[in-house]
Symmetry: C2
Subunit: 338 residues, 2 copies
DNA sequence: ATGAAAGCGCTAACAG
DNA sequence: CTGTTAGCGCTTTCAT
């Protein structure tokens, strides 16, 4: 009853395997009646083509890889979800390649998974690739698009990190703040450095453009995590001397950490301290966090769709796209009290 | 220079493809010298075996599937990460199958992805499978283990949800609370119902065992999200009459939502209200949330390791495991003030 | 519209 | 230790 191969179906339907193949894949050159009969038989026998076999024959795997530096952080898990949406709509599989796990094995990863042609295309989630890895990717000639950060030599869909950080910083300045600190993320693993750098640069330049002072001691690392935000806030609050009246955080997770630490110490937000973040994390709204919102799900979906189009032969399907963002004013920012 | 097939390598090394195959896969029956030579040539030529071809020949894909109801929620993204750790150590690939995307397409998913033998084994992250799907899985005879919730007829690694909820509830009771509300998660999508039910049951029974009253109106749905927690808290706080002095939440995300809403209203935690959660979410520590901690990363890793062992022929490698959990007392719980 | 047959690239017996 | 060869299951010309 159960069909293990296309031959079983062909035999049952009394046609050739070629016809079964055409019928099942919806190709022309099969009469409607035969097709229907074959489809019925195939479904009854529970037949599904072996992906390895068809992969070998066609050179396509119908799976797309997602290369991510982390899977459980806000941006990444959402972007993955977005890619997934597009893939499911097109019956493609998603292979998750989590770079965080690869200590020294990154090298091998690229040789193996990438070149083994286990995937038809690749989405790279904002991380910095080594020159040798970039070379590999170029040699592979696999369609690729970056999401959330640049990958040298490839198209990308992401927000303009400079503008985003500028928007957040300017919001604080417009409110009247002059003593503004910054919590950003310096990735120790070097998995992702373009984005934080851009946000950092924007912050500093926006400050200077407004005639404000940029203080090195008010530039802290928050590691893009809540815990990192808490630590940064501790440093800031423990430091002697003047305190900032506002803090720009390069991500909501860090901003929330800052807010929690502030609350623990009885520092009131926004009366004593304004806090602004980036992302619009699920916790931002309930926490009243002002932030510059972006939508990684959409970004991932868009990237995957471009790749899918490319794979189906559309010319120039892959191109760079600037993802939208906007400031969400909530209750964590207000004019300084003095 | 670049080798497209094993034959190229064989030709370059002046040996047969069989020898190349053995050499590369580290099989015996190849002299050390030949092996070394072949390896050198292969690497120089950038040769990597086609997974489709070897998959066809061996019937193995070296890919393990992870079936998840959501990818971006706390438990799931961590469990995926854990599975990934084990897979990477063994050079296996991870195929992510996100059920949330499949509206009506669940049916097809099982027929296609599952039966197409694109994966050698499957990790199912706590979700309720339909009888027809279970049947499919059984027929496939693919090694499978459930994580974080039961899948009928298969082994699982997860915490004892009854005990966990009981522990959290009892903590509140021990503190002296008598008016205790509950926020749990009722999954509308039916993707996951065993877990919340168990937690619910434990809560009610623990209350009754302590001689306390169980009030239907203090049982709220929080949808396992922060926003859901906020909504549940709104209902609770807006309701006329007596207020609970403590709230048991079936997940930290909901508990944090409750705390945020409490703060917004000036309800002090823990003076006016104690809150306890489950999970030990990253935000729990900074927020001071008392919770019953569990470790989904470990759970995922363990599950994947069992599957890997099973695949490498070890007998009875897959079995059920009770994952550890423990109460973390922090500052969100205290005796009731009156 | 349908079928026959030659691969796709690798693995696994079996010989030698 | 090494080579030969027959598949693995599907796709895809090329005939018919």
């Amino acid at each position: 009853m159960i069909a293990s191969s296309i031959e079983d179906v062909a035999a049952a339907a009394k046609v050739s395997t070629a016809t079964v193949s055409r019928a099942i894949r919806g190709l022309p050159r099969v009469s409607p009646q035969t097709r229907e009969r074959i489809l019925a038989i195939a479904s009854e026998m529970g037949y599904v083509a072996s992906s390895a076999a068809s992969g070998l024959a066609t050179g396509r795997t119908r799976t797309i890889g997602v290369l991510a530096p982390y899977v459980s952080r806000w941006f990444f898990s959402r972007a993955i979800e977005g890619v997934d949406v597009a893939l499911q709509e097109n019956q493609y599989n998603l292979m998750l390649i989590n770079l965080a796990g690869y200590g020294g094995g990154r090298e091998r990863l690229f040789e193996h998974t990438m070149l083994r042609k286990q995937i038809d295309a690749l989405v790279v989630l904002c991380l910095a690739l080594l020159p040798s890895e970039l070379e590999h990717l170029h040699k592979t000639e696999i369609p690729l698009v970056a999401v959330g950060g640049p990958v040298k030599g490839f198209h990308q869909v992401c927000i303009d990190d400079y503008q985003v950080a500028q928007l957040a910083t300017q919001h604080l300045i417009d409110l009247g703040h002059t003593r503004i600190a910054q919590v950003l993320g310096e990735d120790k693993n070097q998995l992702n450095f373009a984005v934080p750098k851009l946000r950092d640069k924007a912050f500093e330049e926006t400050l200077l453009a407004a005639g404000l002072q940029f203080r090195k001691e008010w530039e802290l690392d928050g590691d893009f995590t809540v815990a990192g935000g808490v630590r940064a806030a501790e440093h800031l609050f423990d430091a002697p001397g003047e305190r900032p009246t506002a803090i720009f955080c390069a991500s909501d997770e860090m901003a929330l950490g800052v807010m929690m630490e502030a609350e623990r110490r009885g520092i009131r937000v926004p009366q004593d301290l304004s806090v602004v973040g980036i992302d619009n994390h699920e916790f931002a709204a309930p926490a009243g966090l002002t932030t510059v919102a972006q939508n990684p799900v959409e970004q991932g979906r868009l990237a995957a769709e471009m790749l899918l189009n490319e794979l189906s032969g559309k010319a120039d399907a892959v191109h760079s796209v600037a993802a939208p963002f906007h400031l969400l004013r909530r209750s964590s920012t207000a004019p300084p009290s003095r």
